[in-house]
């Protein structure tokens, strides 16, 4: 099964996006502007990657963003970027764990 299909079925998430490293949208599900989100994720990935390089922290694995209304995980993998969104109040650490587990298979 396509990892994106599995990820998009993680309980608690409201949207999921798959994009390439340049920010081009490959797949998306849920209530979100996938094109914009894919571009934002790619840009953030590049900027955080630069920060990590400067600090000697190695390669970027994922970025977790929390806000009162919505949380998101942007997972960076060779050749693609996968991100999932969940509404506030959901047990987001569980989603993060599931996503990491799926992407490491």
């Amino acid at each position: 099964m396509n990892p994106f299909d599995v990820v998009s079925k993680i309980p608690g998430i409201v949207a999921a996006i798959l994009s390439d490293e340049s920010g081009n949208l490959l797949e998306s599900v849920g209530n979100i502007d996938g094109e914009s989100a894919a571009a934002v994720n790619a840009f953030a990935r590049e900027s955080f990657g630069k920060a990590g390089d400067i600090l000697g922290l190695g390669s970027l694995d994922r970025v977790v963003i929390a806000s009162p209304t919505r949380s998101a995980i942007v997972a960076v993998r060779p050749g693609y970027v996968m991100s999932v969104f969940a509404d506030a109040g959901k047990p987001f650490s569980t989603v993060e764990k599931k996503l990491t587990e799926i992407l490491s298979r």
Partner: protein
């Protein structure tokens, strides 16, 4: 502020704690000796760039945690209502206990908010965020130590007139030179903020370690200070402003 950052940097696995403004300028930091100010400024700019893009999707973001293969960058929004934005970034390695650090960071953010709000409420001209901690003694071990921060305590009043500059150790050779120095600092501050005072002081100390600044040395000083202005427009504006005050 330094005490707050020290509490964070004392945590196991924390290699640095940095407060930056909305432009990515470091306003305070405490970090291992390997993370010097120019490096942290670069990180600040990269981080702000990332945050600016993330805000398009998460305008009300509270925290961002970037997980790398060999460490973490934990960023917290020090939101202060409608005031200027600041962020706290904690640089950590794999030894960090995330749960424990989360509590410490939350406490630190609360305290930083209080400090920054108090500064914002201070009278104009007295409330400039003090420049950052300076790197201190060399690390005693190979891994590096967290030096004690030293704030230089400069304030705008030190640059405000021809006779009020002795406290900073940045006297001009005469009154006119002191005025030019003060004007140069303020011109630079338009682009780099309160860090300008430290930059000017360091530049003068480096260029003329054994004599006071003279206004005829201004071109050399300007050339040195332009190194802090990555944006060509800022550099151009800085040159124009300084040219006016030096006439």
């Amino acid at each position: 502020m330094d005490a707050i950052l020290k509490t964070l940097s004392d945590l196991e696995g924390v290699n640095g704690a940095v407060v930056t403004d909305a432009r990515g300028q470091v306003v305070a930091y405490r970090a291992h000796a390997v993370y010097d100010l120019p490096l942290l400024q670069q990180v600040g700019h990269a981080t702000v760039t990332a945050i600016d893009s993330i805000k398009l999707l998460h305008e009300d973001w509270e925290s961002i945690s970037a997980q790398f293969s060999e460490g973490k960058l934990l960023i917290r929004n020090i939101a202060r209502g409608k005031g200027p934005e600041y962020t706290l970034s904690v640089i950590a390695d794999a030894r960090l206990n995330v749960s424990f650090a989360g509590v410490a960071i939350r406490v630190a953010v609360g305290k930083l908010k209080t400090v920054l709000e108090a500064e914002a409420a201070a009278p104009l001209g007295m409330a400039v965020r003090p420049p950052i901690a300076a790197p201190a003694a060399a690390a005693p071990s190979g891994r590096g130590s967290i030096p004690d921060g030293v704030t230089n305590g400069l304030s705008w009043s030190e640059f405000g007139g021809s006779s009020g500059m002795s406290a900073s150790g940045m006297n001009g050779v005469d009154a006119a030179s002191s005025v030019v120095l003060a004007g140069c600092t303020k011109a630079l501050a338009r682009s780099v903020g309160p860090m300008a005072k430290r930059y000017v002081k360091e530049a003068v100390s480096m260029l003329w370690p054994d004599r006071p600044f003279s206004r005829d040395q201004l071109p050399v000083l300007v050339a040195e200070l332009e190194k802090y202005l990555a944006n060509p427009e800022d550099a151009s504006q800085f040159r124009k402003t300084v040219a006016k005050i030096s006439v």
